[in-house]
């Protein structure tokens, strides 16, 4: 280390013990060095205070949202979709047909899906998520990229204390709430006419679905940490 470097290392608190004491004595005995030390301390202070203005300024929202997409399903999906290629639902037609015929006609108990991999099943007169929909509701997080065609939106606790989640796929969106070990469907709504790709329905949640959420939610939707914790605890 050159004498210069040693002086600055001392100034920056990088020397210890005897070396530090030696340099300190040297600076104390040499007014020129003492002056230099003062100038550099002032320079360091100035750099720090000037750039601290940056660190203290509010962080632009787009940076925060890059890291932590808002819990609202829709904006999040728009951002994610821009980044990720979309996957098509292999049986999208099933959804379209069901969404059109099912709308809130759930509890009749007469509906029987005709496909093995249908995303819903009838159990004790109620309709439950099945196959990929069940899988997505149980494992996907709104705060992480969806691994399948179903995107999760809001997660919240309803007024009975059950955890509910909204979801969207290519042709419809809906709401399911935890009941025992399954996800009972509370609503399923078709995408508006002419909206070929529901992932692009970024503008807003289906108004019927929004009304259903509004009428059942207790408190606020879960933030990403709460959502993750709920998954860890098996959605109880």
């Amino acid at each position: 280390m050159s004498p210069d470097e040693k002086f600055f290392a001392w100034l920056d608190g990088e020397l210890s013990g005897a070396e530090a004491a030696e340099m300190e004595a040297k600076v104390a005995a040499d007014p020129e060095l003492g002056h230099l030390a003062e100038q550099h301390r002032a320079l360091g202070g100035k750099l720090k205070s000037v750039f601290d203005q940056v660190a203290e300024a509010p962080v632009p929202k787009h940076l925060i949202e890059t890291v932590r997409p808002p819990a609202q399903v829709i904006d999040f999906q728009a951002a994610k979709n821009a980044r990720e290629p979309r996957r098509s639902w292999p049986a999208a037609a099933q959804w379209a047909a069901m969404a059109a015929t099912l709308v809130l006609g759930f509890f009749a108990g007469t509906f029987t899906p005709r496909y093995d991999n249908a995303p819903v099943k009838v159990q004790d007169g109620a309709i439950y998520a099945s196959a990929s929909l069940n899988q997505a509701l149980s494992s996907e997080l709104a705060s992480a990229p969806a691994s399948g065609p179903v995107r999760i939106g809001l997660t919240y606790r309803d007024q009975t204390g059950a955890i509910c989640r909204t979801f969207t796929e290519a042709k419809s969106s809906g709401l399911a709430c935890r009941n025992g070990a399954g996800w009972q469907l509370r609503g399923l709504f078709p995408a508006p006419e002419g909206q070929a790709d529901a992932y692009r329905m970024a503008a807003g949640m289906d108004s019927n679905l929004a009304a259903l959420v509004d009428s059942s939610i207790a408190g606020d939707p879960f933030d990403p940490a709460q959502e993750k914790a709920a998954r860890r605890q098996g959605w109880k």
Partner: protein, 165 residues
């Protein structure tokens, strides 16, 4: 119950400091925010390479610095190394209004821009960000002596430009 910060929370917490570092490296607050954006996107994509228990800040600073070096290299292939005179006027200006740079900040950013990249990054990491010599030598994969000598040259040049005499 206290839970350790998630990776994302850790990143969000780092954003103010990342912006400070980016402003010390780049020519304008707008460029700085672009750099921060690139760095956090890269960090999110490379999350699996970060080892929990190690310092997240050093890891992300390193990502950002490497991205910056890439940017500078690709830029210097396209134009001369020094900014043309008309661009010097723009130092510290932020057309997007993201950050209103004070006269002091503009002046110091302008002075930082006069330093060669390799001195500027060391000055920024040690004098502004407060990392130790050893941490910086590890972050930049440089011998500690190189860090120390670049720091001396950088701060000495800065003193003549912005120091109160």
């Amino acid at each position: 119950m206290d839970q350790p910060l998630s990776f994302e929370d850790g990143l969000v917490e780092l954003l103010p400091r990342l912006r400070r570092f980016a402003n010390a490296l780049t020519r304008s607050p707008a460029d700085a925010d672009d750099l921060v954006q690139m760095a956090i996107e890269r960090a999110l994509r490379s999350q699996c390479q970060w080892q929990p228990g190690t310092r997240l800040d050093s890891w992300v600073y390193r990502i950002m610095r490497n991205l910056w070096i890439d940017t500078v290299r690709s830029r210097s292939r396209k134009e001369t190394f020094e900014a043309p005179p008309e661009e010097a006027e723009q130092v510290g200006e932020d057309p997007s209004g993201t950050l209103e740079a004070s006269a002091d900040l503009k002046r110091v950013m302008g002075a930082m821009q006069q330093l060669p990249e390799e001195q500027r990054e060391v000055v920024a990491l040690i004098l502004i960000e407060g990392f130790g010599y050893k941490e910086v030598s590890e972050m930049l994969d440089l011998p500690i002596g190189t860090v120390s000598s670049r720091l001396v040259r950088g701060r000495t040049a800065l003193l003549t430009m912005v120091g109160d005499r």
